[in-house]
Amino acid sequence: MASTARGASPDLRRARRSEALAGYAMIALPLFLFLVLQIGTVFYAVWISLWRWNVRSGPELFKGLGNYATALADPVFQRAVQNTIYYAVVWVPLTMAIGLFLAIIVNQKVRGQAFFRGAYYLPAIASSAAITVLWIFIVAPDGLFNSVRAVLPFDPLMTLFGYGPNQDWMGDETTALDSVIILNAWTTSATFMLFYLASLQSISGTVYEAAAIDGANAWQTFTKITFPLLRPGHYFVATVAVIGALQLFDQVAIAGGSAGAPNNALMTVVLYLYNAAFTQFNFGYAAAVGVILFVVIFAATLVQRRLFGGAPSW
């Protein structure tokens, strides 16, 4: 802009300057908030993480990378990392698959298409707190899930896997995290369905016509055309999913409290961070955990960008 303005008449230059001033004025407040509360906090967090930091008086003792070393050596933190990775590895593909499947189903020309889309998105509109409490009730020892499987002939199969008729899905440390995975797959697949729908509709109909002329069946059409052409959609959904998975907090905090009960089965990196900050008031340490999380999320995003390539511009 500036180079073209240089040779212009004074009038035009004045007009351009006033336009620029108007532009800066219009973005000033949001930009200030972004600089202070978003971008700035990254640097502030790194700074805090190098100290033993008192909530009231600020920095107390310079620890260098000491907080990081302590975190990496703590068995509870290791457990939190392990749980978070397990959650991400199972939940992300599961939820993406369900979301894609739902998107393809509701994208068909069927009667009541709008109704089905509306109904399928329903689980995503409730708050995480409400849906988690509801889920805890459903999978409680005497809850709906156990009652229904007692009525339906599922029990022998469940017993085979070692689950009694009154299995406490959320309270048993072997099933607690899997219960949270299913809860979040259920609710978030609805959102992914919408992302995939938008992506599906960007695929030109002529591609399908060509496939139909070549005599491709539905499965071939899906594996050879739809799935590969959804690449930008996969990339976006996978990125959002991994970032979300690594930040798992609401559901585990509501189900297991700040202790990650039962027996750290629901301890995640973010819950660990929250505890460091607000039950131990160890702010420097909490900041270090936050920086570790940020680095991991950033690295995961870069890896995905590499894997899927051709990333949409953000």
Partner: protein
Amino acid sequence: MVSEEPATPTLPSLAAVRSGESAQGIPVARSRWPRRLAYAFLIGYAILMFTPFAWSLITSFKTLPDSVTLNIIPDPFTTDAYRYLFTELDPPLPRLFLNSAIIAGAVTLTNVVLGSIAGYAFARLHFRFREVLFLLVLASLMIPDQLRLVPVYLILNTLGLTKGVAQYGGVILVLAISATSIFLMRQYFLSIPREIEEAARIDGAGYFSTFWRVMLPLAGPALAAVAILQFQGTWNGYFWPYVILQDPNQYTVPVALSFFRLAGGFLTNWPPLMAMVVLATIPILVLYLFFQRYFVEGIAASGVKA
């Protein structure tokens, strides 16, 4: 955006079935089955989606012993759970809803106002570093809230926004403007033909009045999408209210719900818990029923990075 009907491409199998022809143009009777199967799945899954919500509603009218049975009709039918919520809670239930409404309302307002003004500037006005600054805004989407937790809390603490009624201000300030709001508004303004604006400019209108009188009235759908996304997101929000609101009198509904669950006596007292789930969800459900289009389009548009 998710557009309705005509432009929607479909998989050929079902599209062909619909017209009664196979891909080769030969009518085949057996291909009615995939269609029936699809309907069976569609309906079955819809029922599965409704069941948990229906179950919470049914349970909220039950007594505690009845709540762990499979009775579909409460036996006996009772509104005790709701009475319990309205009389026994401290802080009282209306206060919790007021807290949620204040925070969600304020955050919606700031996002609509700041988002539309900044979105317009990023879409239409020329100034140096525009693209860099816009990227800076979008970069904030990469920063996890949890990394910000400690620094943001310390900043709010310094500003005195972590005590008493000022805690509202703390939550509102943190959520005041999201990159998504600016992004959605910018994309919409980019789609409005330039001629409309230029006509106003020739008439001598200033930049702000062009925005206010000409562009903003045209941006209704985008404003609605931003407002609804923000209201829903903030009403349902958990992390920031949970962290910043230390005084129970300032709790929002979701935060209160999670604390009541862990509080003694409430742990497995299902009817009142389910009644609270129902009440917490109703405002958003009503919003969803009336403005479903904006939910769907807003979410989809925030996913399609144009």
